[in-house]
């Protein structure tokens, strides 16, 4: 549709950046959006699990996870509610590291979180240095409201794909929609294509 023009609206323009996807605005703070209460996850019982389509499982407890080689990455975040935050610093384990040596023909992943949240994405989007299970933010432990002790970080997709309080990834032959994907949000969620809602 040709845009309706609002005379008298100027806008702030401070957001002009080639790193800002369409329809997004910049924030300096770090908003929190969660569908329910923040789960309190005990590190003594924390476990991260990858399960393949054949039922093979690999698990890590917190000390084992901390012992994995970690990356320090600086990435831009884009939330479907329209805020973007540039150059955020994270520490976490690449999903490539977690998948190393796992035999799978799966094309899809269903991510599970403590508290029951789920999200789905193609497995290829978790490979190739594009995704991490992050436990550090801005030089400190990741706080619970931002997904601590550990969250998925998939910065090239809208942030709802970066499941907070992540507990595992199921590798699947078929795609199964996650929490927001079942509620009408886009199945893939590429911010550069502005794939916010299912029909976008």
């Amino acid at each position: 549709m040709a845009g309706i023009v609002s005379p008298g609206f100027f806008g702030r323009r401070r957001d002009a950046s080639p790193r800002l996807p369409p329809g997004q605005y910049l924030v300096r703070d770090f908003p929190v959006l969660s569908a329910g209460p923040t789960p309190r996850v005990n590190l003594d019982t924390w476990e991260f699990r990858i399960a393949t389509e054949t039922g093979e499982k690999r698990t890590w407890d917190w000390p084992a996870f901390q012992a994995l080689p970690a990356d320090d990455v600086t990435v831009d975040l884009h939330c479907v509610t329209k805020w973007s935050k540039l150059a955020t610093s994270w520490r976490g384990v690449s999903v490539d590291t977690l998948l190393d040596g796992i035999e799978t023909d799966a094309e899809y992943a269903l991510v599970h979180a403590f508290g029951g949240y789920t999200t789905n994405l193609p497995l290829a989007d978790l490979r190739g240095g594009k995704a991490w299970v992050a436990y550090g933010y801005d030089g400190a432990d990741l706080t619970p409201e931002h997904g601590g002790p550990a969250r998925l970080l998939v910065p090239h997709l809208y942030l709802w794909k970066s499941a907070k309080w992540v507990r595992g990834i199921d590798l699947r032959r078929t795609d199964e929609r996650g929490f927001w994907e079942q509620l009408g949000y886009h199945n893939y969620g590429d911010p550069w294509l502005e794939q916010r809602y299912s029909a976008d």
């Binding site: 549709m1 845009g3 309706i4 023009v5 609002s6 005379p7 008298g8 609206f9 100027f10 806008g11 702030r12 323009r13 957001d15 329809g23 605005y25 924030v27 300096r28 703070d29 770090f30 908003p31 929190v32 959006l33 969660s34 569908a35 329910g36 209460p37 923040t38 789960p39 509610t81 329209k82 508290g115 029951g116 933010y137 801005d138 706080t143 409201e145 931002h146 929490f179 927001w180 079942q182 509620l183 009408g184 809602y197 299912s198 029909a199 976008d200």
Partner: protein
């Protein structure tokens, strides 16, 4: 869980302003006419897109304040001093003007108007807007679901929909409002100024099916810090996390 229908195509619509009402010094309700509006569920929001004469455009999300029904949709917008969009919506946009809008959006933070379950609503500031839509929907459909609204607000002048909420609770014993004034309280309110805490929650949920054993549907909306705090209080009071739906806005305050 009840899930609203998956969204159909959400194309941008032209919305025409057919009314404005100042609610408080910073809050204004804007009534839009949207021909062919598919209807919404109480608690859902819309995306608004503003385009400047030179083509610059920006989008924001706003909760719907009105009950479902017809082609009219009301948004109640609170002006943020440093906002890019809210000053325009609350100070410039006038009757007869048009903007672009799409929705309804969000199938989680919604009240099912067919459910008889008790409902506990907890609002912080302008977070009352989607909860007011639920209250209005309850009265619009004639639901007898017990409702209780706990509403935290800075001072009496910042109270949104005060007279309407008061009218509802005077006409229906199964709807009640408990106000927490955080800075200045009216002279006739005996309770001291303060935030919603465990004692307030206990008092305000007494005398009705709003305690943990009653398993009410809980909706909490407001600034991030407020929702974090009250959601934790409700969990600590024994409510199951799966019964608690939250909507947060604004900065977290805890991290840059």
């Amino acid at each position: 869980m009840a899930r609203a229908a998956v969204l159909r195509g959400l194309s941008w619509r032209v919305a025409t302003v057919v009314g404005v009402r100042d609610e408080t010094a910073a809050g204004r309700t804007i009534v839009f006419e949207l021909p062919g509006w598919p209807g919404h569920a109480a608690g859902q929001h819309v995306d608004v897109r503003l385009t400047a004469p030179d083509g610059y455009s920006t989008q924001r999300s706003y909760s719907i304040a009105s009950a479902p029904g017809g082609d009219l949709v009301e948004l109640t917008v609170e002006r943020l001093p440093d906002g890019e969009v809210s000053p325009y919506l609350t100070q410039v946009l006038s009757v007869g003007d048009q903007i672009e809008l799409r929705g309804p959006i969000g199938g989680w933070f919604v009240w099912d108007d067919a459910s008889p379950d008790p409902v506990l609503l907890i609002a912080g500031g302008s977070g009352v807007v989607p909860l007011a839509a639920m209250v209005r929907a309850r009265f619009a459909v004639g639901s007898s679901a017990p409702f209780r609204l706990l509403y935290s607000v800075r001072d009496p002048a910042s109270l949104l929909f005060g007279a309407e909420l008061d009218h509802y609770q005077r006409t229906d014993l199964s709807f009640g409002v408990h106000l927490a004034f955080t800075r200045t309280a009216p002279a006739d309110v005996p309770r001291p100024v303060g935030r919603i805490d465990a004692a307030f929650l206990t008092d305000a949920t007494a005398g009705g099916p709003f305690s943990a054993p009653d398993a009410p549907a809980v909706f909490a909306c407001g600034p991030t810090g407020f929702v974090e705090a009250v959601a934790n209080l409700v969990v600590a009071a024994g409510h199951e996390a799966r019964r608690i739906k939250t909507e947060r806005f604004g900065p977290s305050g805890s991290q840059r």
